[in-house]
Structures are given as C-alpha cells and as structure tokens.
C-alpha cells in the first residue's frame, strides 16, 4: 500500500472511532481555513476562481501540502454559477467574492395558514420565485432556467467532487460525507420569515410559528439524510436563532422540533454535527438531552463547563478562536490550542476544529504563519 493510502486508512479509522464514540488513536484535526482562504492566500481572485472550478485543483493541492490536516480543507464552498442563473437573493456574492446569506423573506406573515397546510407546495410555488428571481417567470422559462441551473450545479459540484477524490488520494485525507439541513425554526427564520420577521411572529402569531415548525420538520429530516446509508459522515446542522431568544421562547418554538430532527436523523443510523453558533451556555442541559455522540462544534462559551456537562456523552469540537491568529503571537496561538487540547482531549471524544471558518487573508500574512504553527502543534500533540 502507498504511504498516502495508509494515511487515508488511518485517518478514516480516526473518524470511524470518533463518530462511534470510541476514543481514536489521536485527536483528528480539520483546518479552520477554507478553500476561499486558500484561493486568496495563493494570490488568486476569489470571485473569478469560484467560476472556474478546474482552477481550484492546484490551489487545493498546494494548500494540503503546505497546511497538512486530516480532512479536505474545502469548507462549505458555495459555487456561484447556479445561484446566478437562478437570480438568487438568498445566497449572494459580496464585493470581495465571498458568497453569503443576506436577510431574506420568502413567506409573508399573512400566508402562514397556506404554508402550514402544504409547505412543500408553497415553497415550490411561492417561495422559490421570490428568493430566486429567474424562477418568477412563465412555466417554460422557469423550466429552462431550472434545467440550466441544475446542470451548472451538477457540473460544478461534480467536478469539485472529482478534485476532492484526487486530492484526498494524493494526500491521504479523509472526507466524511455531509448532508446539510437546518433546525425547523432556523429554516423558518433564514429562508422564510427573516430574522426580523420571525422575531415579531413569536409575539404576534405564536401558534402559527409552532405549527409551521412542525410542518417543515419532515422536509428538514429528508434534507439531512445522507445519500448513502451507513456511510462515514454526518448531517450538518448549523444552529442559528436560539441564542437570540428568551429561554421560554426557545422551549416553545425552537427546541421541540429541533430535538425531533436530531432524534430522527440518529434513528436512521447517522451521526449529526451541530455548529453551535454564538453562545449556547444557557442551553447546555438541553444539548445534553440529544442522542449520544452528537458532534457539537462550539463557537463560544466555557470549554471546561462544556467538557464537564457534555463531554461524557457527546463529541466536542470548536472553541478555538480564529481571530487570535490575526491578533496574537505565534506562541499565544499555540498556547491557546494547547489549553483547549488539555481541557477537551480528556473527554476522549474531541475533534480539533475552530470556532469559525477563516475565509479571507489578512494584509500582513500573520494568519498563515500562526495557522501553520497551530496545525503543526495539533497534528503532532493530539493525544487523548
């Protein structure tokens, strides 16, 4: 077996163990910096490169060479072609080339009843044309646009998949499969009612919000299902609204359908990874109720407290504050990694990922230097 094949096998075993709740041989490490960062780090234009998928291969190759970790450092890259063909308002490119999700509203407050009665039909007929302006057209034009967009999406992501396989084979990386979904309340906020809209709805139309979350739950379960049952991978659920709600609102609107979502996905034999965005410290007891071996990547909070409360049951990750790479010295950056390793590795189920993704380079190049030092440390000192 080649060296890279042996490496790939070892790394796959790390994740097999981690996801099944066994303590792996060492702490698996993922790069906090994404392909967007790499594109800029190697001097390419982010906006242009995302249109030219084959151009990403040498970039990813160099990135894996220069910053070795266990997984493919692609991140949740959103390739722009199909968004543009659809006239997307929900995912838009910013002036620096980074694709992001602005505040949008696909459902009006007075439409809740229709939505609740048939959420899938309502999304297809009403929400999609609002959020994707090119679908707001005659059926023939709509069909053609959708066909073009899906062709572009399959071409781009298909090619990216091939790149990933080649790079993984070359560098001996592992890439757990991912299916993205959202907590029902977050889906209602992010794509249907907007942050502002849902924040008013919980006071003005509480019963409808509850009913709408229940109505979209089956869609969210379906979206989170891995394409290959039993494959090494997880449903990825980036959590959004809970930290911005009062506890009693969280209990009523957010938690019931979110918990059901995770339980249903786990019942299908999958792992679930949560990106625990913002500060969830007041909800730790709830998180503890989720099925065993849920991966929780934290953005903020007290790692000691989290290790004590959740470390026996769940797989912990996150916390490493990437802004320190821009503001700190190399020593401070490595010390921080060591501190987290000392707190979280003793749980036996720790995966090194950062609190946020690094998506852009800094003018002075400090991030790259510090990042290298931190990854070098974590890859070589991750004993449990």
């Amino acid at each position: 077996m080649t060296d890279s094949a042996t490496l790939a096998e070892e790394r796959e075993q790390l994740f097999k163990d981690l996801l099944s709740g066994k303590t792996p041989k060492r702490v698996p490490v993922s790069n906090p910096a994404t392909l967007e960062y790499a594109i800029q780090y190697y001097g390419e234009d982010l906006a242009t490169a995302q249109w030219d998928v084959p151009s990403l291969e040498p970039i990813l190759d160099k990135f894996c060479q220069d910053f070795p970790t266990d997984t493919t450092p692609i991140g949740s890259l959103r390739l722009p072609a199909y968004y543009q063909i659809l006239g997307s308002k929900a995912i838009v490119m910013g002036s620096g080339g980074f694709m992001q999700h602005p505040e949008v509203m696909g459902l009006l407050a007075e439409e809740y009843d229709d939505f609740i009665a048939a959420p899938y039909d309502f999304i297809v007929d009403t929400v999609l044309p609002r959020l994707y302006t090119e679908l707001d057209a005659e059926p023939s034009h709509k069909a053609m646009t959708l066909a073009k967009a899906l062709k572009a999406q399959q071409d781009d992501y298909g090619y990216l998949g091939q790149i990933r396989s080649r790079i993984n084979a070359k560098h001996g990386l592992t890439a757990p499969m991912v299916a993205l979904t959202e907590a029902p309340f977050d889906f209602m906020a992010d794509f249907l009612r907007s942050f502002k809209g849902i924040s008013s709805d919980v006071r003005r139309h509480p019963d409808k919000v509850v009913a709408a979350c229940e109505a979209v739950l089956p869609l969210m379960v379906k979206k989170g299902k891995l394409p290959v049952p039993g494959a090494l991978g997880f449903s990825f659920i980036p959590l959004h609204m809970a930290p911005y709600m009062r506890n009693k609102d969280f209990e009523k609107f957010y938690w019931p359908t979110f918990k059901k979502l995770v339980e249903e996905l786990v019942a299908m034999g999958q792992n679930v990874q949560l990106f625990v965005e913002s500060d969830w410290m007041r909800y730790l007891d709830y998180l503890n109720e989720l099925p065993e071996n849920t991966i929780m990547r934290f953005e903020y909070g007290d790692p000691k407290l989290v290790a004590d409360k959740l470390g026996k049951k769940h797989i912990l990750s996150g916390f490493y504050p990437v802004t320190i790479l821009q503001t700190g010295t190399k020593e401070q950056c490595v010390d921080k990694a060591k501190e987290l390793m000392d707190i979280l590795a003793p749980t036996g189920k720790y995966w090194f990922q950062a609190d946020k993704s690094i998506i852009s380079t800094d003018a002075e190049g400090k991030v790259a230097e510090n990042l290298f030092a931190v990854l070098d440390y974590t890859m070589n000192n991750g004993s449990y």
Partner: protein, 212 residues
C-alpha cells in the same frame, strides 16, 4: 392624555397591543406637537427599559429587533400629530456594514436603538467601501462612526476603513465604534477603533458617554 409611566412600561414590556391602543386613543384626542413629543419621549424611555432588560439577560436579540419594530410603528403612528416639532437630536452617527460583508441585523438593531436614544443615524447600508464612509463623513460631519460586520473578513475591512479615515485627515473629528460577531479587544486595538462591542445596548451607552 396618555399616562407616560404606563406607556413607558408597556413599551418596556414589549406589549404591542397595549402600546398601539394607547397611541390610538391619544391620537384621537387630536393632541398638539408638544403633547405628542412627550409621548415620543415616553416611548424612548420604554426603549431604555428594553435595553436594560437586555443587559440583564431578560431580553435577547430577537426581543431587541421586535422592540425596534414596535418603536418604528409607534413613531409612524405619531408622525401626523408630531408636526415638524421633533425632539432635538443628541448627535450624529454614520453607520454601515463594512466592505465584503452583507450582514445587517446587528447594524439595524444598533441603528434603531441609537435613534430611540435620540441620535440622528445615517445608515450607509451593507458592503460599504471605505471610500463611501469617508465621503459621508465629509458630507454630514458625524460625531461617531459605527462599523459593523459578522464575517471574519470584516476585521480587515474595518482596519482598511479606519486607515482611509486617517488618510483623509478625519480621524480626530470622529469617535469610531466597531461591532459584530468577530470583534474583540485585541482586534479593536489593531483596527484603531475607539470602542468595540457585541452588544447593541452597551454600544448606545458608549456613544452617549462620548457626546455628553
């Protein structure tokens, strides 16, 4: 006449139904501008209660957003009876989400709370290049510049914007506050801002401290 204390408390409680009912009854009495200003004032004091409850951990961001909605509905209702006789503004703030970033929720919360506290807010919107900040500062001569961002790339854009303000020779004319998910004390120092925050209510207090 409205009982200012009751109205203030209803705004603080975010009891929309009660607030709107009181305002409708008030408007039906055909009040003059001075009376209307007192009512606006009570609403603003109610927003201060909201800010305090937020800092105490009783309210969260979603409640602040709803408070902003409630206040703008209230002011819209009162506009016809307010006439031109509006309360004097404390000071001016030029506000925007920095270049490369499209997120505006935090910025909008801060903007509406600052307005409620009597600031005049000039909102440049999202993905605002440094040059647009500089132009607007020259034009409206604000006391304070507020920069917002959610993505980590915003830190670099904030630094670029402060540098551009310095280059334009305007840095000493304004106080600069940065806000949003990635800001920290160290980032604030590197960027060269005067204050940083992840808390809109606290930010309004900082701004009030500057223009006392």
């Amino acid at each position: 006449m409205v009982d200012s204390q009751v109205l203030k408390q209803a705004v603080g409680d975010l009891d929309e139904e009660a607030v709107l009912k009181m305002l409708d009854e008030f408007i039906a009495t055909n009040p003059n501008g001075e009376e209307a200003n007192k009512v606006v004032n009570a609403c603003q004091q109610g927003m201060a209660i909201v800010g305090d409850l937020y800092e105490e951990g009783e309210y969260f961001v979603g409640d602040l957003i709803f408070a902003g909605e409630l206040l703008s509905t209230a002011i819209d209702k009162l506009k016809p009876v307010l006439g031109g006789d509006h309360t004097g503004n404390v000071a001016k703030i030029v506000l925007g989400t920095v270049e490369g970033d499209l997120h505006d929720i935090g910025k909008n919360i801060f903007g509406s709370m600052a307005e409620a506290a009597g600031f005049e807010v000039v909102d440049l919107g999202i993905d605002v290049p440094a040059s647009a900040f500089v132009e607007k500062i020259k034009e409206v001569k604000p006391d304070i510049v507020g920069m917002s961002g959610v993505l980590t790339l915003a830190l670099d854009a904030m630094k670029g914007t402060v540098d551009a303000i310095k280059t334009a020779g305007l840095r000493d004319d304004v106080k600069i506050i940065i806000g949003g998910n990635p800001v920290t004390e160290d980032a604030c120092k590197q960027i060269g801002a005067d204050a940083f925050t992840t808390n809109a209510a606290e930010a309004v207090k900082t701004c009030q401290g500057w223009v006392k």
